[in-house]
């Protein structure tokens, strides 16, 4: 169940990004309390690999992505990118790293400046860094627009003249134009229709090969994550649950939470009846007062006393498949979430904080 650990990390020399024991907290007003958004997450990505980060709203997946970008810098932990610990950099030194790390956001329309022309939006990174001569920059902008499937002749138009899918293509063009090494994609397709979603996922894959990109892909849709990822990290309430290759993780989920996520996916096949038994009940507890021990225990039917007292750390259950749980699932085991585990009575906090996550 949701825990910490670094056994899943690989040889630092073989990875482009290595994040260790990342902690991000935000103060709650002047109360002295803190939101524990990310509490000891470690991850690494090899060059040209895609890491999928999954979990429900409030699990800290977006915060982890932003902390890698130092937006804002984490409270504790290290973020080694290409041999440099970004958390030690400040001001100009950090700014110099920025063109090599880019982001793509969920809402394609609001992440583009409505008052600017799309050519200006895409070329801004090049202009700021004065990469190449003016002619070269224009050629580069044409090239990336062409690559994402936007006609460069329409570069004088503004974002509102494009559909959501096209705006997401423009966001991708803007991200790749500075030749970054790493792109953090924060729910890049969740605002799009299924048909458009498939186009954008294929495009990201093309871009990855064309520009040799490494991706962090943050999403809550497991089927989407499986399609794009080489490795998947499942998160819950600021902690890691399970890490592994998507094939292993989805074929035999080891963490009860991963099992619950998989059971909740609606299947486009009417012969499969939605089963209520395996649907996770309850709500995510407050990140201000997270449960002791394993943070998932309040919703886990397998939870025992040990889960409340001792935080599980990641351990290898199969080659390259790691889980942070004291009582992991056997292959093929389904859990009945109508039974609730230890500490379920702790879930609803009457002050209202408990459900405002």
């Amino acid at each position: 169940m949701a825990g910490t650990g670094t056994v899943h990390l690989r040889d630092p020399d073989a990875t482009l990004l290595r994040v260790e024991d990342l902690v991000v907290e935000f103060p709650v007003g002047h109360s002295g309390e803190r939101v524990h958004a990310v509490s000891g997450v470690s991850l690494d990505i090899a060059p040209r690999e895609t890491l999928g980060l999954v979990g429900e709203s409030g699990c800290g997946k977006s915060t982890t992505g932003r902390a890698v970008m130092q937006l804002p810098p984490p409270v504790a932990g290290t973020v080694r990118f290409d041999g440099v610990d970004l958390t030690t950099l400040h001001g100009e030194a950090l700014r110099r790293m920025r063109p090599r790390l880019q982001m793509i956001f969920q809402d394609p329309i609001s992440s583009l400046n409505p008052r600017r022309r799309i050519r200006e939006i895409v070329s801004e990174g090049l202009d700021i860094w004065e990469i190449g001569a003016k002619n070269d920059r224009d050629a580069k902008v044409d090239e990336v627009l062409e690559a994402v499937g936007i006609d460069p002749a329409g570069g004088g138009r503004r974002p509102h003249e494009f559909s959501g899918g096209q705006c997401q293509r423009i966001s991708i063009a803007r991200a790749v134009v500075t030749d970054p090494k790493l792109i953090i994609c924060d729910e890049p397709v969740s605002a799009l229709d299924v048909s458009v979603q498939a186009q954008i996922l294929n495009l990201l894959e093309d871009m990855k090969h064309r520009y040799g990109l490494t991706l962090v892909f943050i999403a809550h849709d497991l089927a989407v994550v499986k399609n794009v990822s080489d490795r998947v990290l499942v998160m819950y309430l600021g902690k890691m649950c399970e890490v592994g290759a998507p094939e292993d993780l989805f074929a035999s989920p080891s963490h009860p939470y991963t099992g619950a996520l998989l059971a909740a996916i609606p299947v486009p096949d009417p012969s499969v009846r939605p089963d209520e038994e395996h649907v996770l009940g309850g709500e995510v507890p407050s990140p201000i007062h997270p449960p002791s021990g394993c943070r998932f225990r309040t919703r886990c039917p397998k939870a025992q006393e040990r889960c409340a007292n001792e935080e599980p750390t990641l351990r290898e259950v199969a080659p390259n498949h790691y889980v942070a749980c004291h009582f992991p699932l056997e292959p093929g085991e389904l859990i009945d979430f109508t039974r609730v585990g230890l500490g379920a009575s702790v879930v609803p906090s009457p002050d209202g904080h408990g459900s405002s996550s």
């Binding site: 559909s163 899918g165 299924v194 498939a198 486009p268 009417p270 939605p274 405002s356």
Partner: protein, 360 residues
Amino acid sequence: MSDARFEESGYGGPLLEVTDLTTSFSTDRGVVRAVDGVSLTLERGKTLGIVGESGSGKTVLSRSIMNLLPKRGLQREGSVRFEGKEISELPADAMRHYWGAQMAMIFQDPMTSLNPVMKIGNQITEAIREHLDVTPDYAGDLAESLLASVRIPEPHVRLNEYPHQLSGGMRQRVCIAVALACGPKLLFADEPTTALDVTVQAQVLDLIAGQQAERFMAMVLVTHDLGVVAGRAERVAVMYAGRVVEEAPTGVLFADMKMPYSEALLASIPKLDAHSHVRLNTIPGRPPDLVHPPAGCKFAPRCPYVQDRCLEEEPPLRAGPTAGHQFRCWFPVGTPEGQEARAKNEREGRVPAAAVAGGH
């Protein structure tokens, strides 16, 4: 006040009959035909799924049936019969007897559909006191039991809270409680779970299904996700460019889809049992401009089965091999003429026009 809840109509026909409904809006660019000649029937207690991409007219259709669209620049033709009574011509004050009491709606975004400065309890009792002749105390008790029935913990505490104090899933439960308050016979659920996490989505859909069975309530479930309707609806209508392009019992639709658009929509969903990095099937191009829709079949510019006839002549809704299955296509999926058309396109390298235009 007419207490519609306890009125027994004694009408034995279908609960909802929509015939040839056309809804258009006048805009600066011209007339947009958002819903174009749609006919639907829904029996009591049953669920009809309406599926389509953004801009297919599925939301306008449900609002048009409920008469909830802004009147400016709106033209509406066709008939909407609820329990046998024509309601499409009714003015707003007559519709008030239907809204909430007979038919209710749940919207996509639970935050914007609740009043942020009104306590949750008052938002529920508002509808109860409008339609049912009850005392404020009784309305309050009813609101509390409604919150309990949508499985909100500590309902008596929640009654005095505001929407921002609840999570997205809890807010959607409150919206469901508001919609169920007066015991409607028909519930429109417009993308009720699109804004929610997948685990919460499953909880909310289970909850709606439970309430539906308990209250023998019919439902129109509007969604872009074929996965959501697959397990939840008895019938599914697929919409494209304001028209129903295929309609069938859910099992029949998934087993034997005839319309290339339905096939393409289903194929574009990433499959959990597929391998990683598999190239996804896409639908080239984008939905047509509803101000100047293409002649012929509206899906033809994006269709892998397209033939010359499709570009000239719009196919009518015709009956499929199974009872209750109808679709609009000249070269249906899985038929000899459909296979021939697709094979011919592949031989000749004929790509749908929209795929060449590149404007995805």
